[in-house]
């Protein structure tokens, strides 16, 4: 970044501009800048480069999470319930995750519980073929919860390590669709312990401040979102709203999507994320 050399209001304005244009949002940006100002005054920092280093450190601490995103339960199957608003990259992420887990030696299965969107099942079946994993589906229009029930029962019977459940996109403003998600989770919890069920919210990295209400409402619907998958960070969007999300709620980021190919999924690395934000 070609920033001002002196540590003055100009530098802080430039920092604010980068944060806002990165979708960090007004209140999270103001909090970050206030803390930075205190740090600069307390440590009497005179060098702009050092201010940026402090800023990066501060942000990394906010989005940090020290767990392994691919960690599964001791006793299987672990069930990832993949949810999110329309078009965020859920089905594609399920395809990528299937390969990620089967490459790491885990017995993996995917379930097509989006029985609503046109050709959703066909789309997932192509991804299941590409990743070479077991695939459970039903006719279009079947109750998604009953497909999920069959899939988890089969996963348990076949000694599956991880079951990835794809669901239909839904706007968090549609309460009947949010209730359907809660129902899918309850039905799954009849077959495996609740601690084995990991609801994961897929966020589109180009989304602005609306991502905050998405996380809140999806988290309520399934009584606890276990982690985030942020897709489409291969464009020019920075996905900075995840910083605002981390400030307000403690939902860790597990993976990020970096393209449309099956290997374009990486575990989230806070350091490289923060570097990219200030590029």
């Amino acid at each position: 970044v070609g920033m001002a050399a002196k540590v003055d209001d100009n530098l802080l304005d430039e920092i604010e501009e980068i944060l806002i244009q990165g979708d960090v949002g007004v209140s999270a940006s103001m909090k970050i800048i206030e803390n930075l100002k205190k740090k600069v005054a307390h440590d009497n920092i005179k060098d702009a480069e050092q201010v940026i280093t402090e800023l990066k450190t501060e942000i990394s601490l906010i989005i940090q999470s020290d767990r392994d995103p691919g960690q599964l339960n001791e006793v299987g199957p672990t069930v990832w319930l993949i949810m999110g608003v329309n078009g965020t990259g859920k089905t594609t992420s399920v395809g990528k995750l299937a390969k990620y887990f089967s490459d790491s030696g885990k017995k993996t299965m995917v379930a097509a519980c989006d029985t609503f969107r046109a050709a959703a099942v066909e789309q997932l079946s192509i991804w299941a073929e590409r990743s070479g994993v077991e695939f459970i589906k039903a006719k279009d229009g079947t109750d998604p919860a009953s497909v999920a029930f069959d899939a988890v029962s089969a996963a348990k019977a076949r000694g599956i390590d991880i079951l990835l459940v794809d669901t239909a996109g839904r706007l968090h403003t549609k309460s009947h669709l949010m209730e359907e998600l809660g129902k899918i989770k309850r039905v799954i919890s009849k077959v495996v312990p609740v601690e084995n069920i990991k609801p994961k919210l897929v966020l589109d990295g180009t989304t602005g401040q609306n991502a905050l209400s998405q996380v809140k409402i999806f988290t309520d619907a399934v009584e606890g979102c276990d982690g985030l998958i942020v897709t489409k960070l291969d464009g020019t969007a920075k996905g900075g709203v995840v910083i605002a999300i981390a400030e307000e709620m403690s939902v860790p980021i597990d993976f990020i999507g970096l393209g449309e190919q099956i290997d374009d999924l990486k575990p989230f690395d806070p350091q490289s994320y923060v570097d990219a934000l200030f590029e």
Binding site: E17, Q21, D23, T206, N210, K232, V241
Partner: protein, 291 residues
Amino acid sequence: SLTEKLEATFKKLRGLGTLTEDNIKEALKEIRRALLEADVNYKVTKDFIQDVQAEAVGAETIRSVEPGQLIVKIVHEKMIKLLGEKTAEIQISERPPSIIMICGLQGSGKTTLTAKLGLLYKKKKQKVLLVAADPYRPAAVKQLQTLGKQIDVEVFEMGQSDPVTICKGAISKARKEFVDLIIFDTAGRLHIDEELMNELSDIKKMANPREILLVADAMTGQDAVNVAREFHEKLNVTGVVLSKMDGDARGGAALSIRGVTGCPLKLVGIGEKLTDLEPFHPDRMASRILG
């Protein structure tokens, strides 16, 4: 809402003669914050606030209007003007077949819009042909075919052939069968993907579409300007469709896109059903952005 916040800011200045730079500073800060929280682009917001300030400073507060109301009025009117004043229509060529090309980022709602438009024009007694020109995304052709069946509108496909060939094939079929309207559904692509952006300009060169519609997700944040600018520079976009407006996103991307490209906003998607399509109303959008 913004009006409530502004009322609070202006309580302190009741009975004022004129608005000065100093006494409206607080109000402009509130407006700026509201726009940024609605995902209006940083620079578009900056320019907008400067315009409002230029108009507001020195404005006489007439007896009947409080300063807060005056500012809100100036903001509202300026926004409606920036959003395009009135509804812009989809243009159809005099001589059939007319061609609409749909483009945009991945997952924005292009295939769904293709089918929504198919239904809209079928109801207007036009013979429509939908074209499955997305050979990349798994089951994209099947998705459009399924939607086409739901509305009984024909879908032209050539499997995984290259999109220019598919669109060319569709045009020759349309000429033979006296089709009125052809709609190209294309694959989602990043605005920085040169190869795929060139593919769109190749389709444009071959087919010379009457309308090139950019589909943008209403939830899009600051990046909306980068996307719209690139698509517009490359293709000369004729209209923008904002999808997923049935959510609670404020939709500041609309102001950003219109601000940097000048392209008219023409339609809004308000749901997944194929009837969930409405004309764009600048005044409703302005109220939604201001919250």
